[in-house]
Each structure stands twice: as structure tokens, then as C-alpha cells.
């Protein structure tokens, strides 16, 4: 079996005694953190990785059974943490990885001393007395669309990109792999993500937690973020002056500032 480091395409950079782990959400890979993570390399050991099935992870390690729950992904985070000997580290998780971080924290107490949840949602589908932002029908429509629009998505996920003269910092080899993934895996990951319900796990989180919430996020609305905040005892929420679901890309400065203030 390949090592965890290779399996999850783990990269460790920076100089610091404390580690800061960045986890990407549904859609792309660790490149999602390219405007944020480097800012912490001076003071922290920055750990970046790809979930199995995303980016440059080992696709052969994809086990449909294991990754049919977020718990399977959390096990990988714990494995990476164990491999690197992490104690009292900071976990920064975007989107679905926010909840994966919550689960990892519960699985391995002491590994993460602080959580930063960017655009978290404990459940995407509305429920009695709970607003998730999506109806069951809408999520069913999404999953059907993934089935249906196979070509569109796979084409979108594997864009043919030449180089990028405007942005020399984006190497050609990286641009090719940003959001590329196996369409079958993307479908499965979407299913796991959008049908997950981890509301009951939030109250168990005992570490200080920062929730970063965008103002207009259709994937994880402010109400959803507020719910997470209300359930995690030692949490605080910061509403970012950013729109969309990816403030790490659209408002990296605000994200960096909020994390710096928290740690």
C-alpha cells in the first residue's frame, strides 16, 4: 500500500512548531488554498493534501465503500495527522471538509487544538425546524444532473489548459489538475457531501472553533453557518465581506486576517 503521504498527495511547507492543516472541499483540490496557505508558512508548518479521488491523490486508493461516508474521509485526515505526528494542530477545512475536520477532531482528541470552518454546513437538506438551504428534491435534481450531464462535468473537471501568462505563479502542470477528477468519483463525492447530516456531532466539539461565513453563499447560507455556531460550544463566527462559497479564493485577505486573529 502506498504511504498516506503519497495517497493523499500531502505537502508540508513552512517553518513553525505548530502545524496548520488545510483541507479542500467538494470541487477542486488543495490549490483552493493557494492565496491563503502561503501566508502562514512563516509561522506555521503548513500541511496541504488532496482527498482521495481529488487532485493528485492516488485514485487507485479510492474505495467506494470507505468513501461513502464523511467518516471515511475523516479517517484519512487522522491517518495524515498520525503520520506527521500532529499534536494541538490547527485544522482549516473548507465546505464539506469543515465537517470532515469536526469528525477527525472527535476521532483523535488532541490532534487538533483549534478548528477553522470555512463555509461549513452540517446538513444541506432542509429538515423540520432546520434550514439547510436545499430541498430534498433539489439535491435529488443535483445528483440526477451529475448522472445526466456527465460530459459537461467531466469536461469541466478536466479543462484543457495551455499555460497562463497572466498568472506565472500558476505552473502549467498545476493548472491541468485543479479540478480534474474521475467523474464517477465526483458523483459519489457529491452524493456523500450533499446528503450528509452531522448536526449531532457539532455539540461534541470541545476545541475553540472559528466559523468563517460569507454573506451570500448559496451552498452554505448564513443561517446554516449560524446553526453550526450555535451548536459548537466554544465557537465564534465571523461574517466575511465576501460573496459565493469560496472566500479562500474570492476574498483571501479577509480569510487570512480572520484566521490570524483567531490563532
Amino acid at each position: 500500500m502506498a504511504s498516506v503521504i503519497e495517497r493523499n498527495n500531502v505537502h508540508v511547507r513552512g517553518a513553525g512548531s505548530r502545524a496548520m492543516v488545510f483541507a479542500h472541499g467538494f470541487g477542486c483540490d488543495q490549490n483552493m488554498w493557494r492565496f491563503v496557505a502561503p501566508k502562514f508558512e512563516g509561522d506555521f508548518n503548513v500541511v496541504l493534501f488532496d482527498h482521495v479521488g481529488a487532485g493528485r491523490s492516488d485514485l487507485s486508493a479510492y474505495d467506494p465503500g470507505k468513501y461513502s461516508t464523511l467518516s471515511g474521509y475523516a479517517d484519512d485526515v487522522v491517518a495524515i495527522g498520525s503520520e506527521l505526528g500532529l499534536r494541538d494542530a490547527i485544522f482549516v477545512g473548507h465546505s464539506v471538509s469543515a465537517i470532515i475536520g469536526v469528525l477527525a477532531t472527535l476521532k483523535a482528541p488532541g490532534m487538533f487544538g483549534r478548528l477553522v470552518l470555512v463555509g461549513p454546513s452540517a446538513r444541506y437538506i432542509d429538515d423540520v425546524g432546520y434550514v439547510g438551504g436545499f430541498s430534498e428534491k433539489q439535491i435529488a435534481e443535483l445528483l440526477e444532473f451529475l448522472e445526466d450531464n456527465h460530459m459537461g462535468w467531466s469536461a469541466a473537471m478536466a479543462p484543457s489548459i495551455m499555460g497562463n501568462p497572466d498568472r506565472p505563479e500558476l505552473g502549467e502542470e498545476l493548472t491541468n489538475s485543479f479540478c480534474r477528477t474521475d467523474p464517477e468519483i465526483a458523483k459519489a463525492f457529491a452524493r456523500v457531501t450533499f446528503t450528509s447530516d452531522n448536526r449531532a456531532d457539532l455539540a461534541k466539539v470541545s476545541v475553540p472553533t472559528l466559523i468563517l461565513q460569507c454573506k451570500e453563499d448559496i451552498i452554505a447560507s448564513t443561517e446554516v453557518g449560524e446553526f453550526v455556531h450555535s451548536q459548537i460550544p466554544r465557537s465564534k463566527i465571523v461574517i466575511l465581506d465576501a460573496t459565493g462559497h469560496c472566500p479562500n479564493l474570492s476574498a483571501p485577505r479577509e480569510v487570512v486576517a480572520a484566521i490570524e486573529a483567531f490563532v
Binding site: 472541499g25 467538494f26 470541487g27 477542486c28 490549490n31 483552493m32 493557494r34 465546505s95 436545499f134 433539489q138 435534481e141 443535483l142 440526477e144 444532473f145 451529475l146 445526466d148 450531464n149 456527465h150 460530459m151 459537461g152 462535468w153 469536461a155 469541466a156 473537471m157 479543462p159 484543457s160 489548459i161 497562463n164 497572466d166 498568472r167 500558476l170 493548472t175 485543479f178 479540478c179 457529491a190 450533499f194 451570500e216 453563499d217 448559496i218 451552498i219 460573496t243 459565493g244 462559497h245 469560496c246 479564493l249 474570492s250
Partner: protein, 369 residues
């Protein structure tokens, strides 16, 4: 039209939709074409965000893939979206997007070009459906093929064994010399004939089935051993099996022939069997073979009613049977298998038929080139 009017008109009425997003993701400008396509007036777009014009799946796709990729690489080409029009219909589009940035990298705006893609989407849908069907069919075919292979292996084994027992029994009777009565001897002849025919039929059926399974005719060629004795033996067997018929043979195989001897034996057996079945009963079947100028040639001829023109081109097709005249009719696989053996050797079988003679000629290069 002045130059700037021309440009303005090109923007507004281009055969594609244009849409510009401000740095905060809100729509700042659309062209007339997009208004016409979607049925929304221009003011309806102003200040709204892209996802408000997309279906739910498109929204999630836009937020989780397109928007991040645009930020990361500054452009994103050929992505599929469904626009929801004013009437509530879906308008499939293919879009390209690019960011416009200031020299210091600040995002100034994002431009999108949208092309209608209903036909393309339908075509893609059909491809996906076709692939799904093909995958399912393939799986079920594989299952069937496996069953068939097992069936054939069992069939071959189970049919050959009792036949071998009958054959051995007939031989013991023949050698014992106890059968003297004409009628008894005729029965013995009949048994021999039937065993030979049956054995040939089983070989042909198994070869045909294997060929259909993709295995084809496999050869184990050997040029060093003589072919003539094999042919003589086949002719002898057929003579024994059809004692009332005359089979005349003349072989002159002077050069080595790089062939599978057992297969060539099967080929000649099939051709002679065919001649015995369809040829005039009281005229001899003639068999000959020779090598000349690097070519091995083998022929089988018979007299009788010529093969009708209409049957000529179907002769070598599996299960083709001529006019059924007697119970000797086989499965219609003999000539098919013979032609398969010929092809496997890089050779061919040709046929000529007239009121004087029907002749099958097999030719192949003596050496594999």
C-alpha cells in the same frame, strides 16, 4: 454605420450571448441577444448574480467548480450550463469565461460568452445513453459467452465419449470376423459411416462455436512432417465409412507445406463429405493435391446437378444447406469451417460448378510469408 456603431451592434446582436460580471460577482452588463434568448429584459439582469439564472445543479456546479477555477486560472472554457429562461424553460448553453485583471492582479471584471447548445446536449445525452446500453449489453453478453463456452466444453466431451465407445465396439466386431451375414455387414458399415459423420459434425460444431466466441481457428503448423499420409488416412476413413461410393485420390505433394495437418485433414474431410452428400451417387468423387511454385493446391470434384447460381455466394455461410435431398444432410457447417481453416492458413477455397463437374479448389502458400 460608423466603426463604433458597428462594434456596438456586434456586441449587442452577436449570434452569442455576452455577460459581464463585476468583481463582486454581480451582473453588470448583458447583450441584446442574451435578453432575446432568455426572454428577460435588460434591467432584470442588472445587479443579480449568475446563479440566479441557473437551475439548482448548475448553481452548485458554478459555485464549486466554475467560480473557483476562474479565480485560480483566470479563465475557464467550454463548460455546460442550463439557463432558466423567463418562461421557465431550460436553455442549455456552452460557455467560456475569462477574467479581466489590472496590472497588479486585481479582478476588474469577468466576461462570459454563451452559445446555445441544445443539440449538442441532446447528442451528448444520446452518447451517454448509448454507452450505458452498450455497457449493460456487454456485461450480459460476457455472461452468455461464458455459459456458452462451458456448454461447448461439456458438449464436446460428452458427445465424443459415447461415440468413441460405439466406434471401438464396431471395430471389435469387425476384427472378430464373426459377422458373415451380408445384412450384418451392412449394419456394421452403417455404424462406421455414422460414427465418421457424427465425429465430423461434432468437430465442426465445436469449431464453429469456438470461432463465434472469438477464439477463431487456432493452428499449430508444422512444415517438417509430411501431409500426404494424413490426407490418405482421411480418404481411407471416408471410403470405409461409405463403402458404396468411389473416392479416387491422386496426391503429389513434393514440397513441404507449412500447415496444421489435422486442420487440413478436417478441411479435406469436409470437402469430400460435401461431395459425397451432393454429388451423383454412381459417379466417383475425385480428390487431388499438389505443390507447385510455392502454392499448395487441393481439389475435390464430383459429378451431378450443378450448384445453382443463387446458392453460390452463400455456400460458405454457416448453416447454409442446399436442397435437402436425403437424410445425409448435415448442419450446413462443413463448408463454412473449411473456408475458415483456409483463411487461417492464408489461403482460400474457390468453387466452379457446371453440368459436367462441381469442383472445390483450396490454395494456400506452401510457406508462411
Amino acid at each position: 454605420m460608423s466603426g463604433s456603431e458597428e462594434l456596438e451592434d456586434l456586441f449587442e446582436n452577436a449570434p452569442c450571448g455576452y455577460l459581464t460580471l463585476a468583481p463582486d460577482g454581480r451582473i453588470s452588463r448583458v447583450n441584446q441577444t442574451l435578453c432575446d434568448w432568455t426572454g428577460y429584459p435588460r434591467e432584470h439582469f442588472a445587479g443579480k448574480r449568475m446563479h440566479q439564472f441557473l437551475n439548482m445543479a448548475g448553481r452548485i456546479y458554478f459555485e464549486t467548480h466554475i467560480a473557483p477555477l476562474l479565480r485560480m486560472q483566470g479563465f475557464f472554457n467550454e463548460f455546460a450550463l442550463d439557463f432558466v429562461t423567463e418562461s421557465g424553460d431550460r436553455m442549455p448553453v456552452i460557455a467560456n469565461a475569462a477574467e479581466r485583471r489590472s496590472p497588479d492582479g486585481e479582478l476588474l471584471s469577468t466576461r462570459l460568452v454563451l452559445l446555445r447548445a441544445a443539440d449538442r446536449r441532446r447528442y451528448e445525452r444520446e452518447l451517454v445513453d448509448a454507452r450505458a446500453i452498450a455497457t449493460r449489453t456487454l456485461a450480459s453478453e460476457r455472461e452468455t459467452a461464458e455459459l456458452r463456452e462451458q456448454f461447448i466444453a461439456v458438449l464436446g466431451h460428452d458427445l465424443r465419449n459415447p461415440l468413441a465407445a460405439i466406434n471401438a465396439g464396431a471395430r471389435i466386431l469387425q476384427r472378430s470376423g464373426r459377422l458373415q451375414d451380408d445384412k450384418e455387414l451392412r449394419v456394421l458399415d452403417m455404424i462406421n459411416t455414422t460414427v465418421t459423420r457424427m465425429s465430423g459434425l461434432i468437430d465442426n460444431v465445436l469449431d464453429f462455436a469456438r470461432g463465434r466466441l472469438g477464439g477463431g481457428i487456432t493452428l499449430s503448423r508444422e512444415a517438417s512432417r509430411p501431409l500426404e499420409p494424413v490426407l490418405e488416412q482421411i480418404v481411407d476413413e471416408l471410403r470405409t465409412a461409405s463403402p458404396k461410393r468411389s473416392i479416387e485420390s491422386s496426391f503429389a505433394i513434393l514440397d513441404p507445406v507449412n500447415c496444421d495437418r489435422a486442420r487440413i485433414g478436417q478441411l479435406v474431410s469436409n470437402l469430400i463429405g460435401n461431395a459425397l452428400t451432393h454429388g451423383a451417387a454412381y459417379q466417383p468423387v475425385r480428390v487431388g493435391a499438389r505443390t507447385e511454385g510455392g502454392v499448395f493446391e487441393l481439389w475435390v470434384s464430383n459429378a451431378g446437378v450443378p450448384i445453382p447460381e443463387s446458392a453460390m455466394e452463400k455456400l460458405f455461410e454457416p448453416f447454409f444447406r442446399g436442397d435437402v435431398r436425403d437424410s445425409r444432410q448435415g448442419l450446413g457447417l462443413g463448408l463454412h469451417i473449411a473456408s475458415q481453416i483456409a483463411q487461417a492458413h492464408g489461403g482460400k477455397i474457390t468453387v466452379t460448378s457446371s453440368s459436367e463437374e462441381t469442383r472445390f479448389v483450396f490454395t494456400m502458400p506452401t510457406m508462411d510469408r
